[in-house]
């Protein structure tokens, strides 16, 4: 490894001899960073959000132009770059256009894996081309960056696999004795190797060890996690991927990478915190990967009697109300019922009934997932209300229609300290005048908890597949008067 040009610390042209180019590239990067910040700013409103994408794209184009102007890139290098970018774009287009909205969580998890892979590989290349002449501090940053890249890569692949419900991957959380000890030992091994390298960057063998330990830790991190925790995990991996990109910026002396990485990391962090709050988990627990299955000790429970309603009864009640709030859960999306739900809402609105949707933060499988699924079904976004917005309104609501949601409407979260979901913020649907629950059977939800809402005297159960039930209700409500094709 001696007969090649070592990679320079900074890829920038020398500011003292090549002033013009230096300024041009720096300004292009600055413009790129501004584009990124603007794109996030415009995301704060659905009306301006698409303009935000445009700003981000402009930022990207400028950054790429700036990079291609760097004098370190050789003529053959340009050919390789063009080929690699074309291959990447060819894979990226179908991943961007063909993935269905229900598969969005695994799609996002997969892209975290790609991002981490790129960051990790660049870090490794940087190490091999500049060692042993690496400052201890820089080496430590580089070591952490490579570890993070490796663990986010496998962690995200595992998360994507679990979400996609890949056959050979267990969906249930896997817990075994000394699990945490093993996890910490693997992570500790990586940390020790980083320290060794910081002391003596010539210890080249330590890099493969770091990579393997990171890859193994990523797998171990996701093994004990069940489906209900996935939204938090995706957000957390997002934060880690961002931090890895920012660290890479430190190592490559590139401020643009630092800015983009910091923005991505912060976004992941904010989303993780929101998800934690929504599921009543401490952030520290999640940060150290100590989440996973809290084994529910659910012994004998008083099961009351339930009341069920036929379709024409249910239709009659809905038709005669003023305000109906629909509470969708992931079960609705699994049944592919969102279009039928919107049709039902349209039918009700024709009868003069006001319809709103109450979206719990963990209603889908990633932050904001349910909103996307309903928007796809052409529900206007003004009708999609957050938990905080809708909760004070429930006392004025005539009928709440619960569709495939379970734990997020369980009043036990408010008062039953023994319940595993105790303390979790819920939609206060039991404050409405009456509640209608559409359910396939009396099976408990994700947390394996019986839902006392079903035994509430105001609750009517409507049994059946969500899609079929919606179809029946639409027929009942639109009735014999006009024939709407459903």
């Amino acid at each position: 490894m001696s007969n090649f040009l070592p990679m320079a610390a900074s890829f920038f042209p020398d500011p003292s001899t090549d002033t013009g180019l230096y300024i041009v590239i720096s300004l292009l990067y600055l413009a790129g960073a501004i584009g990124f910040v603007l794109s996030l700013k415009w995301m704060s409103d659905a009306k301006t959000a698409r303009k935000g994408i445009f700003a981000g794209e402009i930022g990207f184009v400028l950054a790429i132009i700036g990079t291609l102007l760097l004098p370190v890139i050789t003529t053959t290098g340009y050919i390789y770059i063009a080929v690699a970018m074309l291959i990447g774009a060819a894979i990226g287009v179908p991943l961007g256009l063909l993935v269905p909205m229900t598969a969005m969580p695994q799609r996002i998890a997969l892209s975290h894996a790609f991002g981490a892979l790129a960051a990790g590989l660049v870090g490794i290349a940087k190490f091999y081309s500049s060692q042993p002449d690496i400052n201890w501090f820089v080496m430590a940053v580089l070591g952490i960056e490579i570890t993070l890249g490796a663990l986010v890569f496998t962690g995200s692949l595992m998360a994507a696999g679990k979400l996609q419900e890949v056959k050979w991957l267990a969906q249930r959380p896997i817990v075994f004795p000394l699990q945490k000890t093993l996890n910490f030992a693997v992570l500790g091994l990586a940390v020790i190797c980083v320290v060794i390298l910081a002391v003596d960057p010539a210890q080249v063998w330590a890099i493969p060890v770091i990579v393997l330990a990171g890859l193994a830790f990523g797998v171990l991190l996701i093994i004990p996690i069940g489906g209900a925790d996935m939204p938090t995990v995706i957000a957390l991996l997002n934060a880690y991927a961002g931090i890895a990109a920012a660290l890479l910026g430190f190592v490559l002396e590139n401020n643009l990478l630092i800015v983009a990485g910091a923005l991505d990391g912060m976004s992941g962090l904010i989303l993780s915190i929101i998800m934690c709050r929504a599921m009543n988990r401490s952030f520290r627990n999640v940060l150290f990967g100590a989440f996973g299955a809290t084994e529910a000790e659910w012994g004998d429970q008083e099961v009351g009697s339930i009341r069920s309603a036929s379709f024409d009864e249910a239709g009659e009640i809905l038709k005669n109300s003023r305000l109906v709030v629909i509470v969708p859960g992931y079960g609705m999306a699994v049944a592919q019922a969102q279009h039928k739900v919107r049709e039902l809402a349209d039918t009700l609105e024709k009868e003069g009934v006001e319809v709103k949707y109450a979206i719990h933060p963990v209603a889908g499988r990633m932050p904001g997932h349910m909103n996307v699924l309903l928007a796809e079904a052409n529900v206007p976004y003004e009708q999609l209300l957050d938990m905080e917005e809708i909760n004070p309104e429930f006392p004025q609501v005539d009928v709440v229609l619960v569709l495939g949601a379970n734990d997020v409407v369980n009043p036990a979260a408010r008062h039953d300290q023994k319940s595993p979901i105790y303390g979790m913020p819920i939609l206060d649907v039991d404050k409405a005048a009456s509640i209608m629950v559409v359910k396939r059977s009396m099976r408990p939800g994700f947390a394996g908890v019986e839902n006392e809402l079903f035994f509430n005297e105001k609750t009517l159960m409507v049994f059946g597949d969500a899609k079929d039930v919606m179809g029946e209700l639409i027929t009942e409500i639109s009735g014999n008067r006009d024939s709407i094709n459903v």
């Binding site: 990447g88 290349a125 990391g265 904001g368």
Partner: protein, 111 residues
């Protein structure tokens, strides 16, 4: 020549300020748009493409060139796929249809 400690210190400034800016900006993104937000930040963080391009284009060793090649492909997937999917999602978020289409000025006055 290795990375200077000097740059790392400047970088920390940039990181801290960008972090605060990001926090204040992203905090304002409504829950409605959190999935598109994730897709967008994912595309943005694929800016490691810049580093990947340098590693590949700089032609240091055969080894780093291979790493760079894979890295450019991986980050390019995220750039292209990330922006496309964010746009596809945002296109679906529509406001309530107005019965008739008033002029923007009229709509302002009406509301």
């Amino acid at each position: 020549m290795s990375v200077s400690v000097e740059f790392i210190m400047t970088g920390l400034f940039v990181f801290a300020l960008a972090g605060f800016l990001g926090f204040e900006t992203i905090r304002r993104v409504p829950r409605l748009l959190h999935t598109p937000l994730m897709a967008l930040t994912n595309a943005l963080s694929a800016i490691s493409l810049v580093g990947s391009i340098v590693v590949l284009g700089g032609q240091y060793t055969a080894y780093t060139t291979i790493l760079g090649f894979v890295a450019v492909i991986a980050s390019m997937i995220n750039v292209v796929g990330g922006f496309l999917i964010t746009d596809k999602m945002l296109k679906m978020f529509k406001p309530r249809e107005k019965p008739k289409k008033p002029e923007p000025a009229e709509a302002e006055a009406a509301s």
